[in-house]
Amino acid sequence: MPALEKGDVIAVMGDFKDPNRLISAAKSIHAAGYTKFDIYTPYPVHGLEKAMGVPKTSLPKFALAGGLFGLLCAFALQYWTGAIEYKLNIGGKPLFAPQFGVPVFFELTVLCTGLTVFFVMFGYLNRLPNWHSKYQYDEGFQAATDDNFCVVLEANDPRFTVENAQELLRRLGADNVRVVHETIEQD
């Protein structure tokens, strides 16, 4: 285990246990003008992203584009291979007809939509995989995958000062309000 050293202040954190308090806290932090803050929760809390003022996800647009791409591919594939490149008469059936194309249209639409949603959601919108988080040494932050709602006011927010952030979280009823320093691993 490398030695750990404390660096600059990177955030002020506070914990919540009650979802109702958490929602009103999120509203208040948003109303106070903070933009660089996040709340880490063990499961999605209904309405929390709205309370935080998180803009609506653009994922459906990507999904639609992926689906249309799949549909187009399925059409092009069946039409070009069947009616242009390899004209094979089988029992006098048409070389291409949308009727027999339906199953492949559908399957490729679904396949491309699914792949797009998966990679765009994790890779592009959520920036994962990302195997290191600068907060990962904080116990309360870790407990956010267990039973803790961890509010993080980031130090790079233009409104951030250590005192104000601490005061705000305390007033909102957060437990264990703490200043978190950067952890530098030394080999």
Binding site: D15, R21, S28, V45, H46, V104, L108, V117, T145, N176
Partner: protein
């Protein structure tokens, strides 16, 4: 006072479980009493402990014994499979008349098993059936393992599996392309899409739970593995927002997908012109049958897992009751389809069609037909009784009956239509050889091997999803009625204003 509160939290630590979800008992008093989905009045932390505990405990001798047996059975199947591939499918019992036997029966059987997983994870999600959270993870895992087994049969029945890539449309030196007019080609697309989407859906669901395991992992290997596969998930609300939408889209995609897969599998039969296969009822009939058989398999496995892993608080009698109701409903749909097939055979006036159906019930394979009727139509009728629906042993035995019945359904459909075709001179009887039987038993071994590994190393219950449906886990909709919260938010808004003013001054 604030300091005092602070101190208790600090001393108790993060995972004290001291915070019992409030409002639970109040809710019960205010609303008509509904059976809770998770028993034992658990805290959120206890859920983490219970489910991660299964993956974290040392493997017991019982586990290794079960694993070894499964592995041996798999090995037998692999041996028979290697023999088939080495010598050719002539070692199977197929003959010139009956060209599809246990291979396609087993393919349809296994694909069908998978359907319950997708139904639970996608369709019940769209219908907001919260009880699904206890069983969706394992049912989805089952889907994936079942489709792998199905693929084994469909890929080896081609005879020369090393040329299976010919099934895919790819540019080649022969300048040939696949035939998109064939339902067998549709099958290639349907099954591979189904497998891919099921895998992505399952993995997406696993990520937050793997992060939970990662943050608790004690050993180096476990930590590394859970770290890699949890992708660095932190539980950020900004991430959850995209994640939940992706989950919704996956559910929306999987719902028509699962209906399409077995419809397309049924086209393999329905698009042909063989009496007994060439019917328009096949797609819905196959889908209902798939869900019927899938739920039976989910019940069989879940009842065992519930006992062995002590999941009584999570998979409750209510869950078993609900699943049995679905079993009853889909069983009746299947029964209706059997009756309707007979009616149409008579009503169509087609002598070939009529012959096939009379032959089904009275001919060489009548034993198979009546086994199917007994297991699929008669046995689920017991579930009209609420008492029997909540009887674990009875459900277990009955679920096995349904599994057997649904296997016989596919066998009946395939063998009766083939063995007595249009040309009486080529009528033949089909019996499988030991090779086919061993491969089939081997796939059960593989299924159990995968399932045991899954149950041991991955969260067998969707932790984050179960947490999210706990009473008091979500903000209450009427929280302005709650005095404490109203006071609280007024109190904070004043201070937020003050804070704003301070910030502006700076």
């Amino acid at each position: 006072m604030e300091a005092k509160e602070h101190a208790t939290v600090a001393s108790a630590g993060y995972s004290s479980g001291a915070v019992v979800l409030n409002g639970y008992h109040d809710n019960l008093a205010a609303k008509p009493v509904r059976e809770p989905l998770v028993l034992g009045n658990k805290t959120i932390h206890q859920i983490t402990e219970d489910i991660c505990g299964i993956a974290e405990q040392k493997a017991t001798p019982k586990f290794w014994a079960a694993f070894l047996v499964s592995l041996l059975v798999t090995a037998a199947g692999v041996g028979a499979l290697a023999y088939t591939i080495g010598v050719g499918i002539g070692v199977w019992g197929l003959n010139n008349t009956v060209g599809w036997g246990w291979d396609i029966t087993n393919f349809v059987f296994w694909v069908g098993i998978g359907h319950a997983g997708t139904l639970i994870s996608a369709i019940l999600f769209l219908f907001r059936q919260k009880w699904r959270t206890a069983i969706n993870r394992s049912a989805e895992a089952m889907t994936i393992f079942a489709v792998i087994n199905a693929a084994i049969f469909v890929l080896t029945h081609t005879g020369r599996p090393w040329f299976d890539y010919w099934l895919l449309p790819y540019p080649n030196q022969m300048k040939m392309w696949v035939n998109f007019r064939s339902p067998l080609e549709w099958d290639v697309f349907a099954v591979s899409t189904y497998f891919t989407i099921s895998l992505l859906f399952w993995f997406t669901g696993l990520v937050p739970d793997l992060a939970t395991l990662r943050n608790r992992a004690k050993t180096k290997i476990a930590k590394a593995a859970y770290t890699i596969f949890s992708l660095g998930w932190t539980g950020s609300t900004r991430n959850w927002h995209h994640y939940e939408f992706a989950y919704l889209i996956f559910a929306g995609l999987s719902t028509p997908l699962v209906l399409s897969v077995h419809s397309i599998v049924s086209f393999d039969f329905a698009v042909s012109i063989l009496p007994g296969w060439h019917t328009t009822i096949f797609p819905p009939y196959f889908v209902a049958g798939a869900i019927f058989s899938g739920f039976a398999m989910v019940l069989t496995l879940m009842l065992v897992a519930r006992e062995v892993l002590d999941l009584h608080d999570y998979i409750t009698l209510k869950h078993i009751d609900n699943m049995n109701k679905i079993l009853l409903a889909t069983g009746m749909m299947v029964g209706y389809a059997y009756a309707m097939e007979f009616f149409i055979a008579w009503y169509s006036g087609n002598p070939y069609e009529r012959f096939v159906f009379i032959n089904r019930a009275t001919g060489d394979y009548a034993w198979s037909y009546w086994a199917m009727i007994t297991c699929n139509v008669i046995s689920p009728q017991f579930f009209w009784s609420a008492k029997l629906r909540r009887n674990v042993w009875f459900t277990f035995v009955l679920s096995i009956f349904v599994n057997i019945g649904m296997w016989f359904e596919r066998f009946t459909i395939i063998s009766t239509s083939l063995h007595h075709g249009y040309l009486p001179s080529s009528w033949q009887y089909y019996t499988p050889t030991w090779v086919e039987i061993t491969i089939f038993i081997g796939t059960f071994g593989l299924f159990m091997t995968f399932f045991l590994l899954f149950a041991k190393y991955l969260p067998i219950i969707a932790i984050a999803e179960v947490k999210s449906i706990m009473p008091g886990a979500q903000p209450s909709h009427h929280h302005h009625e709650d005095e404490k919260h109203t006071e609280h938010s007024e109190y904070t808004e004043q201070h937020v204003e003050a804070n704003n003013v301070q910030a502006q001054r700076r």
